[in-house]
Structure formats: C-alpha cells, structure tokens
C-alpha cells in the first residue's frame, strides 16, 4: 500500500527527533559553520509567523497548505528546463555536472550570492537523493519552494538513515544493486538531481522533455515518468 506524503510525515514524526540526532552521530564530518542568518525580510516574515502562530491568531497547518499550493510557482519548471537541456545537449550536460552554478546561469537561473549548486547524475547503477538534515536548504532557484514533506523532521532524518525505505514509501522501489547516494544540502551548497532520461523519449523535443520532468524526480524521490503512450 502506498503511503501518502502527509501520512508519511504524520506517522514518522514521533520518532524523528531521536533519529535526527542519530543521523548526525553517523556523520562525523558534518561539522559546519553556524547556520547562515536569513535575509532581513525573511527574518521579519519568520518573526510575524512565529508570533502570530504562538498567539493562536493563525493556523500553521492552513498556512502550510496554502504555501504548498503555490510551491511550484517559483520554480520546478526552471529545473525541468535545465534537465531537458542536459538530456539533449551533451556539452551542456558536461558543463552542468562540472559547474552547476555557472551552467544554470546560462539559462538565466541563479540564486543569491553564496549558494553553490551541484548537479548529481542518476545512472542505471546510482540513484541520488537530496535532503537537508538541518532545515530546508533547497535549490529554490531551480526548484521553487520546498514541499512541506521536505521540511519535515521525518524526511530530514530518515532520508539519511534509511533512504531505500523512504524511497519505497514514495513509491520508488529500487533494485538492491542500485547504489543510493544521499546528499545533505547546506545553506552554501545545494544539490539538484539530474534524473535518467526515460525510455521511449527519443523523439521528443526539448520542451516536451521538460514537460515530463517532475520536481520529485529532481529531488530524487521519484524517477521521470515514461512519455504518454509509452509502455514499460
């Protein structure tokens, strides 16, 4: 039975705090500088939200639901264009894997100063998964707002401890011989998954390819679906 993402968050939430510490205990080299202080407007919004939620004036679940509705509005189409270009243009792909930040800049996409984007490529033998164990560091210049589940303590901790199990809950059952690499994002270093180009997509145009690419595939919790009409 496939678990919905919200169930996934709700069910796993209880054990998450303990697992979070465990995740870090297993990562001896995860020693970073202090967290990057957000921009002035970001801090002001955070302050408004935390005060108003504390006073019971606004329902945080309703806020999340509203943001969820719009999360796709700033971005996964940008990432999809990057992926489609990499599929059709080997020289672009080579540059993209060597220097993500500069190469997405060629398409007019970029984040604030200080972010560095690393693009990691899925192959038949390697599957990449992105997480931010700290909070919700996310390549939003190419993916938009992070989905609510990405920010959940459950995903943040379990993606590191049991990535194969997490992927199964997202409906992606990878063969045992596929290596799963989990990339922990930071405020300075963010990741984007370059998913595998699906079978049967050879005749599609770059725009048609971009339309196939999903946000979840670029986080690594899904594969890009087969083009319409193509049977596995």
């Amino acid at each position: 039975m496939k678990t919905s993402r919200r169930d996934f968050i709700a069910n796993a939430g209880a054990a998450a705090a303990a697992m979070h510490d465990l995740a870090h205990a297993q990562e001896p080299d995860h020693e970073h500088e202090h967290s990057l202080v957000p921009s002035d407007p970001a801090l002001r919004v955070k302050s408004l939200e935390s005060l108003l939620v504390e006073k019971g004036l606004v329902d945080p679940a309703a806020l999340d639901a509203l943001i969820d509705t719009y999360e796709h509005k700033i971005g996964p189409r940008n990432g999809a264009q990057v992926v489609a270009r990499a599929w059709v243009d080997p020289a672009f792909k080579k540059r993209l894997l060597a220097n993500g930040t500069a190469t997405i800049g060629e398409l007019g996409f970029g984040g604030r100063g200080g972010d560095y984007l690393v693009v990691v490529e899925n192959t038949p033998k390697v599957h990449n998964l992105i997480v931010c164990t700290l909070c919700s560091c996310y390549p939003w210049a190419v993916l938009g707002l992070p989905p609510v589940w990405y920010k959940s303590a459950a995903y943040r901790s379990r993606a590191v401890i049991d990535p194969r199990g997490v992927l199964r809950e997202f409906g992606l059952d990878l063969p045992q011989d596929v290596e799963i690499r989990v990339h922990d994002s930071t405020a300075e270093l963010r990741y984007l998954v370059l998913p595998e180009r699906p079978a049967g997509s050879e005749k599609l145009s770059e725009d048609e390819l971009a339309a196939l690419v999903t946000r979840d595939a670029m986080i690594g919790v899904a594969n890009v679906p087969l083009p319409p009409g193509v049977r596995p």
């Binding site: 979070h20 870090h24 990562e27 995860h30 020693e31 970073h32 500088e33 202090h34 967290s35 990057l36 202080v37 957000p38 921009s39 407007p41 970001a42 801090l43 002001r44 919004v45 955070k46 302050s47 408004l48 939200e49 935390s50 005060l51 108003l52 006073k55 004036l57 606004v58 329902d59 309703a62 806020l63 509203l66 943001i67 509705t69 719009y70 999360e71 509005k73 700033i74 164990t133 700290l134 909070c135 939003w140 707002l145 992070p146 303590a153 930071t186 405020a187």
Partner: protein, 134 residues
C-alpha cells in the same frame, strides 16, 4: 479555525483587487520563499477574520503609493518588500502583534541562527537564552 464558507482566498476576484501583484496565468509568482510565506500570512489572517481583504488591499495600496512617492522604481521587484511592510503595519494597527515584539522576535531569530551550528535544527529558544560568554 478554518472557515469554509468564504470564497477561495486566491480566487480571481480577490487577487484582482491587487493590480500590481506579480502573477502568471496560474496565480501569484514568487521570487523567494519568504514572499510566499508573507503572501500566505496575509491571506490566512484575512480568512480568519483578523482583517478584511478590503482593508488589506487598502493598506498595501498605501504602502505601494508611499514607495512611489519616495521615487522608488515601480518595476515590481520590491513588491513583496512593500507587502511585508503593509502586513507589519496592519498587524500592529489591529493589535495582533506589537512592533516592539516583532523587532525583539526578529533579533531572537537572528541570534538563534548565529548560535546554531549547521546540521542542527534552528530553534527559537537558542536565540532567547542568555548570551554565552565570549
């Protein structure tokens, strides 16, 4: 508390009262996550009855006008800065949160970020604790 009998907060009619809102055919567009959070806060506070959408539109319009009067370029790039300023003002006017409390909370969050090593969740408490000896 979610009121179900109100029209869709992001419905065309409501958003059309905000003529300069950055948007595409699908609705509002955001350049950074905080903008979507500020957008959602205004919509939810209005939905929960803390102010009417008309009051919101008037406050935002006044903020946009004073920016224009100050000679700021009206290219939409600062739209959500004005949105946030309007939200802070209306929240204060309605007695939902005092400016001093907001300022103190902002300092506390900034301090929490400064004190929390990367790899740990940033909790507000870290910014409220007495300062460590340096």
């Amino acid at each position: 508390m979610i009121t179900l009998n109100q029209p869709d907060p992001t419905g065309a009619e409501k958003l059309s009262s905000l003529p300069q809102l950055p948007r595409d055919v699908g609705g509002p567009v955001f350049a950074e996550p905080w903008q979507a959070q500020a957008f959602a806060l205004a919509v939810r506070l209005s939905e929960e009855g803390h102010f009417t959408w008309k009051e919101w539109a008037a406050t935002l319009a006044a903020e946009l006008k004073s920016a224009a009067d100050r000679g700021e370029p009206d290219d939409g790039s600062h739209y959500y800065h004005h949105w946030l300023a309007a939200l802070e003002r209306l929240v204060a006017e309605k007695g939902l949160a005092e400016p001093a409390a907001l300022f103190a909370r902002k300092e506390a969050w900034a301090e929490a970020y400064r004190r929390t090593p990367h790899g740990k969740p940033v909790e507000l408490a870290a910014g409220l604790a007495p300062p460590a000896r340096r």
